[in-house]
């Protein structure tokens, strides 16, 4: 691939921070700050101009869009912002474009040129579907960044690549990796299968995310501190400026959380200006772990679900059986659990995961510091082949009337298995569409078309012919098309039933 030779830049657009890296490592893009990243903030200045990054930090709350990335995750198109003419609904994509443009500009100034000659690899949460990926892609392209869908990489896959890239010994044996990426806003999980003599073929077996991470733990610690203060005879509700005290406590919660990653206890010395009197309480790592425990339990449930999906992708077992598999069976066979994101500095995260997995499973940082794993992996991803078997990167269309009419039989990045299917314990799990779902004509002749977004042609066959161009005897009654998580394809049309498979996918049964 010639694209791989062009200078590559990784861009990690996170919920709270945005980072840029070249193949050599992180490129600091902070402006007028000591941090190497740019805050993921955009807003409107008093004169009505859009400002992104640190300059937006000092804007009044109403003029600011925080956690703008969540608007894509949650499917919101507009955000209400105060502009000089009054409150207005602003298209979030336009704000994201401004943020990415600013990040690109800074990256170009500090390091490799981010222009037509280079290639930008953009990360996205593994849980995003095709529409969500195209939204971010469109915003990046309007920011004049040289990106295409094929250079958009799932964030946990990037974190995995950051780790793989530092491994010097390759056994050639397939590796099973779980990526646990816990940042400020979200926990992103992925189960990867890595193959090839140099472990350069990375395949996603399962990926999902939950919107509970660092910010939520900060809230929980602040609530716990509230109780500790009450024990010390300080009632926050009785304090004159209560909101100010709460903000102070929340900041103290975050600082204490971060310091407790390297110490067993930390003092919290109250400000008499804020609380009306001086007081000192000591908070321990044990207390923090107790508050964190229910969060980690939910995180582990999510890990279990991701492992279930991975099992469905690889085995012929019924979902009914898999949905009932106990955790100690689900966690078997994982070679390494990779920790990514700032929250993974907390020792309790590693401890819990070490308890959860078998003793032969290594639990390691994807990179040190773990906040940089995604962006560094993105910049390095050019050397790797990545395939998402859980959300395949191709469309399957059925066209007739010389291509004048068509239906989308499978839309790229749609999960092949829905969580609800597993929950119901359905057998024979697969993605499937029939003639009536698609409102096909009663009869006539059509053809299958495959559109690949991986940057390369998809190799897939059916009835021992190419999937792309395969003739279809149209029938609204009989037509059915299925893709199985292991790569098998089945199509029934007016003429019969045809079996096929995606040849590019890892054959997980064949070691």
């Amino acid at each position: 691939m010639c694209a791989a030779r062009r200078p590559t830049v990784g861009l990690d657009f996170g919920t709270s921070t945005t980072l840029v890296a070249s193949t050599r490592g992180l490129i600091p893009i902070g402006n007028d700050t000591t941090f190497p990243w740019m805050p993921s903030l955009v807003g409107y200045a008093d004169d009505g101009t859009v400002v992104a990054g640190e300059n937006a930090q000092h804007l009044p709350d109403g003029q600011l869009a925080r956690s703008i990335k969540r608007s894509i995750t949650e499917g919101r198109d507009f955000v209400r912002i105060d502009v000089p003419t009054g409150a207005k609904d602003i298209r979030t994509d336009a704000l994201i474009t401004e943020l990415l443009r600013e990040a690109g500009r800074r990256g170009a100034r500090r390091g490799r040129d981010i222009g037509v000659g280079s290639l930008v690899r953009l990360g996205c949460p593994a849980m995003w579907d095709g529409r969500q990926r195209r939204r971010l892609l469109g915003a990046a392209q309007r920011a004049d960044l040289p990106v295409v869908l094929a250079t958009m990489i799932d964030e946990p896959v990037a974190a995995g690549i950051a780790w793989l890239d530092r491994q010097r010994v390759h056994t050639g044996r397939p590796l099973r990796i779980v990526v646990f990426d816990m940042g400020g806003g979200t926990l992103d999980l992925a189960v990867l299968d890595v193959r090839g003599a140099n472990h350069k073929d990375v395949s996603v077996l399962a990926a999902l995310g939950i919107a509970e991470a660092g910010d939520d733990l900060d809230e929980a610690i602040a609530a716990d501190l509230d109780i500790e203060l009450a024990k010390a005879g300080i009632d926050i509700d009785a304090i004159e400026n209560q909101p100010r005290a709460r903000v102070w406590l929340r900041d103290a919660a975050r600082t204490t959380k971060e310091l407790l990653s390297s110490n067993d206890e930390e003092p919290i010395v109250l400000s008499p200006q804020v609380f009306g009197r001086a007081a000192e309480i000591w908070y321990t790592r044990g207390q923090l772990n107790e508050v964190f425990m229910p969060h980690m339990e939910r995180a582990e449930d999510a890990v279990g679900l991701a492992l279930m999906i991975a099992r469905i992708t690889e085995s012929a077992k019924s979902a009914y059986e898999i949905a009932r598999m106990p955790m100690d069976l689900l966690v078997q066979g994982v070679d390494v659990v990779l920790l990514s994101g700032g929250m993974c500095r907390i020792p309790y995260v590693r401890q819990r995961l070490e308890w959860l997995f078998e003793s032969s499973t290594k639990v390691e940082l994807a990179m040190d510091p773990p906040e940089n794993a995604v962006v560094v992996g993105l910049a390095r991803a050019g050397d790797y082949g990545t395939i998402n078997m859980y959300r395949p990167a191709f469309d399957v269309l059925l066209e007739w009337n010389r291509g004048q009419e068509f239906r989308t039989v499978y839309e790229a990045f749609t999960p092949l298995v829905e969580r609800s299917q597993i929950a119901r314990g359905e057998d024979d799990l697969r993605y499937t569409r029939n003639g009536r779902d698609l409102s096909l004509p009663r009869n006539g002749k059509g053809k299958l078309r495959v559109v690949s977004y991986s940057g390369e042609r998809l190799r897939a066959t059916i009835g021992s012919r190419n999937l792309d161009g395969f003739p279809v005897a149209l029938s609204d009654e009989k037509f059915g098309f299925s893709i199985y998580p292991d790569g098998r394809i089945r199509m029934t049309d007016g003429a019969g039933t045809f079996e096929g498979r995606v040849d590019d996918w890892h054959r997980l049964d064949a070691e």
Binding site: R24, R112, E280
Partner: protein, 217 residues
């Protein structure tokens, strides 16, 4: 042309290529010279002329050894230019010398990045220092206990990889590798009191003694 060839044969060859306006082969150049009245010349003369032509700034060599005149000299990327030089000197160059230059050329486009990273490393240290300073001031005004104060100072410097040597006020036995006497020298093994702690800077790759602990007998 014949006169020019007689005084400066290279210039004559160049003129032929320039006036051709397109890429020309060696045979075509020789034909053009003959047509302009240049008398026959031997193979050695031509080889010498061809060598000069090949390295001329305004000449590019196209596939099939066709020569073309370009108005603006083509400047190849430094790495390509270096590889051409290596090729043209054949084996008469030390491998290590070529490698060292290749590495420098590969790093060159990353210089601004390297500079930005170095600056970042300094900023990381400065931020840690500023956080420590503001925290100490805040704790002092908020009447923090001595224990809280010392604990927080040690937490902050620990984040920067600093590991304390001893604790102020503790008593211990003298070890010249870790301790610095205040005043006259002290024998190893003598009982001492720590006046001020020292620090080591420890990372996975480094272990540096920043300062010894100050002690007195």
């Amino acid at each position: 042309m014949a006169a020019l060839f007689a005084t400066d044969p290279s210039a004559a060859v160049l003129r032929v290529v320039r006036e051709a306006g397109t890429a020309v082969s060696a045979t075509e150049i020789k034909q053009a010279l003959r047509a302009a009245g240049v008398s026959a010349f031997d193979k050695r003369t031509w080889n010498r002329l061809q060598k000069k032509l090949r390295v001329h700034d305004h000449i590019i060599v196209e596939p099939g050894y066709r020569y073309m005149w370009v108005a603006e000299p083509v400047v190849p990327p430094a790495a390509d230019a270096f590889e051409q030089i290596v090729r043209s000197v054949g084996g008469r160059i030390k491998r290590a010398h070529a490698e060292v230059i290749r590495q420098a050329l590969a790093d060159a486009p990353y210089m601004s990045e390297i500079a930005a990273r170095q600056r970042q490393a300094v900023l990381d240290g400065v931020r840690a220092l500023a956080e420590l300073a503001s925290e100490v001031e805040e704790l002092t005004v908020n009447q923090a206990s001595t224990r809280a104060m010392i604990h927080r100072v040690r937490s902050r410097v620990k984040l920067a990889g600093l590991e304390p040597i001893e604790r102020a006020g503790d008593s211990t036995v003298f070890d010249r590798k870790r301790h610095e006497p205040i005043g006259p020298s002290i024998d190893d093994g003598a009982h001492v009191i720590v006046v001020r702690p020292g620090y080591r800077w420890k990372t996975p790759h480094d272990d540096v003694l920043v300062s010894r602990a100050c002690v007195q007998e």
